[in-house]
Amino acid sequence: MSDTTSPNLDRRSLLKLGLGASLMLGTAGLTATLSGCSSSGPAGSMAVLRESDLPLLAALFPAAVGPHPAFSENSNAIQLAIAQLDRSLHYSSPFVQSEVLNLLGMLSMPLTRGPLTGIWGDLATASPDQLEAFLLRWRDSRFELLRKGHKSLLQLLHMAWYATPQSWAAVGYPGPPII
C-alpha cells in the first residue's frame, strides 16, 4: 500500500504534524481560514465555494473526469461544472457544505496539502501525473478518512460534470426527453 512506502504519509509524519488524521481533516477548513490561505466567504459569483477553491477545482475536474472532449471544445466547460457543483452544494445541508469546504481547504493549505497529498507546490498548478498519484494515494490509504476523501471528492466532481449537458454527447447520452 502506498501509504506505508510513502515518506510523507505514514502515521508518524501525521503525528509529527501534531494532529491525528481525523483532527487534521476536521480542522483544516478552520485553520485554512485562520491562516488566511482561504478566504472565508463565498467567491463573487458563488453561493458556497470560496475564491481559493476555484483554481483547485479547475485542476481537479480534468483529473477526475479524464480527457473528456468538452474540456477542449468549450473554454467555459470547467466554469460550468464548478457553477453546477456550487448550486448543488447550496441546496445541501450546513454539515455537507462545511465538510466539502474543509476538504477543499485542506487541499489548498500548504501545511496539510503537502503531507496528505504528496503535492508540495500549489495543487492548482500540479501536473496530471502528480494529481493522479495523489488520487491513487488517497484511494489506497489505510486511513479511512483519506479513502473517504477520495470517494467524496470524485463523487462530487463526477456528479457535477455529468449533470452539465456539455458532457453528454461524448458518452453517447442523447439527453432527457422533452415533454
Binding site: V65, A160, I179
Partner: protein, 529 residues
C-alpha cells in the same frame, strides 16, 4: 401536448396551500389533526382522516414542486427534491442516502416499484417484535385497497433492456424472476421517475391522496420544518415550526405554531427520530432512533455488445428474489435484485476509477447495465441497524455500522449479480468498488470478488430505503409506539410512516407504508370520530 398540472389547477380552484417561506409574520394554525410530513405515510393518512370529516393540517419541510417543474433534469431534482440536496450520508459517509424532501415526500421521486410486505417479514414482526394484529391475512385487504387507489399493477409493457438483463440472466440460470408491479396510470415509459414525473402518470402522493385531502378542505403548509413538539403532561400541545430558507437547507424563516387535538408524525426514518430528540420527547427506554434500517445496496456494472440505454424506459420492471429467503428469514443476509435507472449524473458515481479509466467506462454508458442488491437488514442479531443522533444545529445524524454480517452479503451479492450479467451476455462485469476492474470472464470475476477489500469507502454503498427508528410493538421497553402506531408515552401522538418498521421490509417499502398507513389512519379516524 402540454400535460395539465393537476396541483396548480387545484390551487386555482381554492385549495388551501401556504408557502411558509412567503409568510410575513408569525402565524398560528389549528386543526383537528396535524400531520408532519407529506410522503407515503402522511399523504395516505391525510386522505383518510379528511374523508372522515376531520380538519387536517399538513406541514412539509420541502417545497411545492409539481409536474410543470419536472424537466427530467437530474441536478435540479437532486438539489430541490431530496434531503440534503441528495448529499445525505451515514455518519462515517460509508453509505450515501437518498430520501425525498418535497411535497409528496419520497413518493414524488421514487421509482414506482410496489410490493406488498412479504409474509415472512410480517410473521417475523409478530414473533420477534411483539407486533399485534398485522398478519398477512388481515393486512391483505389494506394492500388491495391501496393497490386500487394508486393504480398498482404488474408492468404490462416489455421491460427496457436494463431490466431485461435480470430476466435473461435468471431465465438462463434457472433463477427466480418476476415482473414488478408499478403505481402508474398512463405511464409514458420515460424513465425519469427519480426526477419527478412530468406527466403525472406516477401515482405519488402529490397527485393522489394529497389532492383528495385538499379537495376536502385540508390545509397544506410547505417549506416549513417542524422543529419541536411542545408537551403539556402526556399530550403534545403544539408543534413549533419554522420556514426554510430559499434553498431548503436551514429553517431560518418565520415561525409557525400548529395546534391540533391529535398529532401524526409522518416525516419518515431519520427525520422523525430527529424531531423527537430535538423535542426531548419522553423516551424512558432510549428507543428513539434505534434500529434504523437502510436496505444497504451494492452494485455491479456490466458492458454488452448491444445497446441498453438504461436511462430510458420504466426504471424498475423486473426483479429477482432468488437470494431473498433461500437461507431462511433470520439466516445470513438475503437480498432482492433489481436495477437502477441510468441517467448519467448519478451513474457516474458508480462507474469506478477516475481520469481516463472513468471516461472509458462512461463512454460505454449506452451499452452498460447496472444491477443492485437490496440487503435485507434487521433480521439477525448482527444486524441491529443504525441509530439517530443530533448534530449541534439539531439536524439528524445516522450512525450505521456496516458489520461483517453485511459484508458477507455484499460479497455474495457481487457474485449473484455478476453471474446473472454474464448469463445475460455481458462482455465484461465490474463490481462497484474503488479497486473494481472489468472482468471479461465469470472465472476471473469470481477471483476478483474473492480478492476485493470489504471495507468502508472501497465498496460503493447506497440506500434509497430509510426505515425504522420509531419501532412499533406492544412492549414499551423495546418500541416507541404500539401496533396501532400510538406513542407508548404520549396520549395524542401517532407515528404513521416507514419509521414504524421494526426491521427492514425485504422489498421496496412504499406499498408497505401505504397499506400500514391506510390501516392505522382508519383506526385513528374511528378513535377520534
Amino acid at each position: 401536448m402540454p400535460v395539465p398540472d393537476l396541483f396548480l389547477q387545484g390551487i386555482e380552484r381554492g385549495w388551501q396551500v401556504i408557502d411558509a417561506s412567503a409568510l410575513a409574520q408569525e402565524t398560528t394554525l389549528e386543526a383537528d389533526v396535524v400531520i408532519i410530513g407529506t410522503g407515503a405515510g402522511g399523504g395516505t393518512s391525510a386522505e383518510i382522516l379528511a374523508n372522515a370529516g376531520l380538519r387536517v393540517l399538513l406541514v412539509e419541510e420541502g417545497s411545492l414542486k409539481t409536474s410543470s417543474d419536472f424537466k427530467n433534469d437530474e441536478a435540479k431534482a437532486y438539489a430541490e427534491l431530496y434531503q440534503e440536496g441528495a448529499a445525505r450520508a451515514t455518519a462515517d459517509a460509508g453509505i450515501g442516502i437518498l430520501q425525498g424532501r418535497t411535497v409528496g415526500g419520497t413518493t414524488t421521486v421514487n421509482w414506482t416499484s410496489s410490493f406488498r410486505t412479504p409474509d415472512q417479514t410480517l410473521a417475523h414482526w409478530a414473533e420477534a417484535h411483539d407486533v399485534k394484529g398485522l398478519d398477512s391475512a388481515s393486512m391483505a385487504p389494506w394492500f388491495a385497497r391501496m393497490e386500487e387507489r394508486l393504480g398498482i399493477a404488474p408492468w404490462a409493457v416489455p421491460p427496457n433492456a436494463n431490466n431485461d438483463v435480470i430476466r435473461l440472466g435468471c431465465e438462463k440460470l434457472g433463477y427466480h424472476w418476476k415482473v414488478i408491479p408499478r403505481n402508474v396510470r398512463g405511464c409514458w415509459n420515460l424513465g425519469y421517475c427519480g426526477t419527478g414525473c412530468p406527466t403525472n402518470a406516477k401515482q405519488s402522493m402529490l397527485v393522489t391522496t394529497l389532492p383528495a385531502a385538499l379537495e376536502k378542505g385540508a390545509v397544506l403548509v410547505h417549506s416549513a420544518r417542524a422543529e419541536r413538539l411542545v408537551f403539556e403532561g402526556d399530550r403534545v400541545s403544539e408543534v413549533e415550526c419554522r420556514a426554510m430558507d430559499a434553498t431548503l437547507s436551514q429553517p431560518s424563516g418565520q415561525r409557525l405554531r400548529l395546534r391540533g387535538h391529535h398529532i401524526v408524525l409522518s416525516g419518515g426514518g431519520i427525520n422523525n427520530p430527529a424531531l423527537l430528540l430535538r423535542s426531548k420527547a419522553p423516551d424512558p427506554h432510549q428507543r428513539v432512533g434505534k434500529r434504523t434500517f437502510l436496505h444497504p445496496v451494492n452494485l455491479t456494472l456490466a458492458q454488452y455488445d448491444r445497446d441498453i440505454h438504461g436511462y430510458y424506459g420504466a426504471p424498475q420492471s423486473i426483479y429477482s428474489d432468488h437470494f431473498q429467503w433461500d437461507q431462511g428469514t433470520t439466516g445470513p443476509v438475503g437480498y432482492k435484485l433489481e436495477v437502477p435507472p441510468m441517467q448519467p449524473s448519478m451513474t457516474s458515481t458508480l462507474m469506478g476509477g477516475f481520469g481516463l479509466q472513468h471516461l472509458h467506462h462512461m463512454a460505454s454508458l449506452p451499452q452498460s447495465n447496472i444491477l443492485l442488491a437490496l440487503l435485507r437488514d434487521g433480521f439477525h442479531e448482527q444486524s441491529q441497524g443504525g441509530s439517530v443522533a443530533l448534530r449541534d444545529n439539531g439536524d439528524p445524524l445516522l450512525d450505521y455500522p456496516v458489520t461483517d454480517y453485511l459484508w458477507d452479503g455484499v460479497r455474495r451479492a457481487f457474485l449473484s449479480m455478476g453471474e446473472i450479467q454474464f448469463a445475460a451476455g455481458a462482455r465484461a462485469v465490474m463490481p462497484s468498488h474503488a479497486h473494481g476492474r472489468l472482468s471479461t470472464s465469470w472465472a476471473d470475476y469470481q477471483e476478483q470478488v474473492a480478492g476485493l477489500s470489504y471495507r468502508l469507502h472501497d465498496v460503493r454503498l447506497a440506500s434509497a430505503h430509510v426505515m425504522g427508528g420509531c419501532a412499533m410493538g406492544e412492549d414499551p421497553t423495546r418500541a416507541v409506539v404500539n401496533s396501532q402506531g400510538r406513542h407508548h408515552q404520549l396520549e395524542n401522538l401517532s407515528i404513521i410512516d416507514g419509521s414504524l418498521f421494526p426491521t427492514s421490509i425485504g422489498a421496496n417499502p412504499q406499498l408497505s407504508v401505504y397499506g400500514l398507513a391506510a390501516r392505522l389512519a382508519s383506526q385513528l379516524a374511528s378513535d377520534l370520530g
